[in-house]
Amino acid sequence: MSTSGVLVLGDELGPKGRRRVRIATGVSLVIVAGLMVVAVRRLDDRGQLDWERWEPLTQWSVQKFLLLGLWATVRAAATAMVLALMLGALLALMRLSQTPPVRWLAAALIEFFRGVPLILLIFFTFFGLRRYGIDVSAFRALVIALTVYNGAVLGEVFRAGIRSLDRGQTEAAHAIGLGYWQAMLLVVIPQAARRMVPAIVSQMVTLLKDTSLGFVITFEELLRRGRSTGEFFGNQLQVYAYVAVLYIVVNFTLGRIARWLEIRQRRRLGASTIVVGGTDDLLTTGVQAVGTIGYEAGGLGGSAADRGVAG
């Protein structure tokens, strides 16, 4: 991609424009470098760059401790994801049901659980249930909360996916004599599922990030173990930074997979995918459910380069 063709400007810059860009490039490089120097000096002044603060991170026992934390994070996220997919499918089917009370119940559950902050749900499943004599482990409390919340979000993804399918598909299925469930299972869901794959993978990223909330209920996941490590060696800043990097690596990879699936999907089907999860956790709201159904994937977040590939 040529930088001068940059999106908004449309066409190549002239000699004057190019010179201006060169000057601005120089100036901004100086500014960025200056900021970095200030930050590094500040860290150095406070002894945060001293080797003994970073050294623990090179010990295998510390790495093992942290990576086992990451493993706990992944395990909780994977368990919750599988359960949330099942719950989401159930809620979506209920919400599309032809019996009004079932529909209302599903809508109420979805709206309620999506409208409540996850951390409140986690507090409830951990501290709350305990008060009523239901003793749950931190792992289970976290998984239950994540399942309920993401089940509600995925329920909306599934519903949007099913509804995005042309009505003609259902009608044709009925015309050849299939009943409601047959039409759903044989015609509608297989097609809708393919469109939803990228949104589901994006939701996985969100879920994995949210697993760090297990921290508050002493679940031994990555962040919690990072905290123990930081307190033990007195190098919180370094350990938290390292934990952040681990999260970034994992989530960035998942995000790339989502993007790749989305592009492949569009190229193959020429169809739009559902973008509920495309912009991550921040779009999991009632308003968005309406907005997302019609959104083309390229509209949100897809860069011009990607569109070129997909187009």
């Binding site: 951390i119 760090s212 800043l237 970034i248 308003v287």
Partner: protein, 214 residues
């Protein structure tokens, strides 16, 4: 139920803190987001790289980690703010990355002819961005930005981790003190919905009002 009715003032205090957290950090996020988006669509390579790096790093880090990193980590380099200020900075910075992506997608949605026309009449890049492109771009992303706002109301609950006395913090405490978790929890949920639902309605209204009809 009377646990909730007897402690309405607790809920009210929590709601006020949550609301001000949300509004302040959203304002900050808008500023950061527009700047980041401007960097990412600018023809200047270092700015584009910096913008991309910011967005990818922030979006892929859990908000919890950012909150803790800033709260416990930055004190190590002698930067120290109150918990509320820290929460606003972290929430604003986090949400700003998402706003940036949305505004950028809005910029991409503005037809190419607009940018070309702006250049044809002699506007410089910053001028055309400020006067022509961004006003149109922002109008197309009102609904997604509204979604962000509503999500931010919920995300602000992460501030309770660093003891900001928001709705989540206070209601969890109330649940602990009274041992009546279910009514308190339901009360908290209603309080959150009392913020998010009107916000959602306002967004739909605003979106209709400013929508560009083509």
């Amino acid at each position: 139920m009377d646990v909730v009715l007897d402690n309405l003032d607790v809920f009210w205090r929590g709601m006020r803190t949550t609301a001000s957290l949300t509004v302040l950090s959203f304002a900050m996020a808008m500023v950061i987001g527009v700047v980041v988006a401007a960097c990412r669509v600018s023809p200047i390579p270092p700015l584009r790289a910096a913008g991309a790096l910011y967005v990818e790093a922030v979006r892929n880090t859990p908000l919890t980690v950012l909150m803790i990193l800033f709260f416990f980590g930055l004190t190590k380099v002698g930067i120290r703010y109150g918990t509320f200020t820290t929460a606003v900075i972290v929430l604003g910075g986090y949400t700003g990355a998402f706003v940036g992506e949305m505004v950028r997608s809005g910029v991409n949605a503005v037809s190419l002819g607009q940018g070309e026309a702006a250049r044809a009449i002699g506007l410089t890049f910053p001028q055309s961005l400020r006067l022509v492109i961004l006003p149109q771009a922002l109008r197309t992303v009102v609904a997604p930005l509204g979604g962000l706002f509503v999500a931010l109301v919920k995300n602000s609950s992460i501030a309770s981790l660093i003891a900001v006395k928001d709705l989540t913090y206070l209601t969890n405490q109330l649940g602990n003190d009274t041992a009546r978790y279910i009514p308190v929890f339901l009360g908290a949920a209603v309080a959150y919905l009392a913020i998010t639902i009107p916000a959602g309605i306002a967004i739909v209204w605003l979106d209709r009002r400013v929508a560009i009809r083509r």
